[in-house]
Amino acid sequence: MFDLKKYRKKSPWILHYNAGSCNGCDIEILASLAPKYDLERFGVINTGNPKQSDIFLVTGPVTYRSRERLVELYTQMPEPKVVIAVGSCSCTGGVFRDMVNVEDGVDRYIPVDVYVAGCATSPELIIDGVVKALEILEQKTKEMEKPLKLFREATLENSIVNRRHTALKVGEKDEEN
């Protein structure tokens, strides 16, 4: 089934931000750090510091006041990074879709790599999501290691600025193959 050895060689440190959820998913994230589900098996540490984290767990539909902080946290995280939208309302807006003070879903503001459904989501789903995120994290790391094409003209496609951009496109390339 899962080749866990591969994933265990990673150490995803998580950053958690609540962008307006009902706390249901947040307590499930806490529960998945607790003994029964123990995310630390994968090397997860809840750092709470954007500068040292790899995985950004966002819960909640983005409210007007939290969107600024959300983008700020995302930009403070160094590459490679993976964003997981935890719970239905952070994926698409959920039951809060179309409410007045809510932007439906996290991917209006920052690119989301993994969507975890559920209202409220359960620790198993969070673990599934983190395992999925580890795959993407590894791909992104490899993408970043690729040498720069120095002798070509620095067009938008392959300049240094766009390394991040290409790292984001990892998923789409797989689709073609």
Partner: protein, 274 residues
């Protein structure tokens, strides 16, 4: 030859200790815990990561902290003067404190402040330990201490005081207010990222090597006592970590200075007059 190898691999040995400790702590908390080599996976990941440089002094001071600590550990392994070692270790701590003050983050400042206060608490005790060894052997040289017999019995009160210092240096509760993840998000290390955080992370491993090497000095030339002491104290430190909450800085200063200094003084007076 063996010393050179030991010096080269000192951070790795510390890393192994740290990994084992994470596993042990997880088991004490009734969970499975990360794999044994997790600190090294963390290390590889941090090398791959992008690094943000806040300002050059901050990063250089962080790297200096790591290098000085390595030299400290090297000096202990080579059997140099114990007093030098302690003062050089002080220097490395000052580097990290300066690094904390060199950025704007308020958490970093508080962390540095607390680190300074903690230094006031533990530094006299470390010096007293050195003085205790000097009074017994007439020399500060670590090689001399290693050649002679175990001093655990005659320096027992100092040993107890040293156990408190270990909790501070290894950032274990109850004396982990300097790091205090829930209050100040790690204190001085808050602004480091990527490969520069790597140095701080590896400095933590060296801190393990430093503290446990100092501990082994109490066993002198008795290798079995040394191993026993290491295992026993390793377990004890983690058990205490799992049985206490973090106490505040002012309590830390009060407890460590009052109890530690008293114990140390009694021991030194005893050594001088008995």
């Amino acid at each position: 030859m063996i010393e050179t190898l030991l010096i080269l691999f000192a951070p790795l040995i510390g890393g192994l200790m740290y990994g084992f400790e994470r596993k042990l702590r997880a088991r004490m908390q009734n969970r499975q815990g990360p794999p044994l080599l997790q600190p090294f996976y963390d290390m590889w990941k941090l090398i791959d990561k992008q690094a943000f440089i806040v300002n050059p002094y901050h990063t250089i001071l962080g790297v200096m902290h790591f290098i000085t600590l390595w030299i400290v550990v090297a000096f202990i392994i080579l059997g140099q003067n114990l007093l030098y070692v302690i003062f050089l270790h002080l220097l490395s701590t000052i580097f990290i404190i300066l690094a904390g003050f060199s950025v704007k983050s308020i958490y970093s400042h508080i962390g540095s402040n607390r680190e300074l206060q903690a230094m006031i608490a533990y530094e006299p005790i470390l010096i007293m330990v050195a003085v205790g060894f000097f009074m017994k052997h007439g020399s500060f040289d670590i090689s001399v201490i290693r050649e002679n017999g175990a001093l655990l019995a005659s320096l027992f009160l100092l040993f107890l005081a040293f156990l408190m210092v270990m909790q501070i240096k290894l950032k274990k509760s109850p004396f982990d207010a300097t790091e205090a993840h829930q209050e100040i998000v790690g204190g001085v290390e808050v602004e480091f990222s990527g490969v520069f955080f790597e140095f701080i992370y590896m400095a933590k491993w060296l801190e393990y090597a430093f503290v446990y090497l100092l501990l082994m000095l109490f066993a002198g030339n008795n290798i079995f006592l040394g191993i026993g002491l290491f295992l026993g104290v390793f377990l004890l430190v983690n058990l205490v970590d799992n049985a206490t909450a973090r106490i505040k800085m002012k309590h830390l200063l009060r407890i460590v200075l009052a109890i530690g200094l008293t114990l140390g003084m009694w021991n030194l007076i005893g050594l001088a007059y008995v």
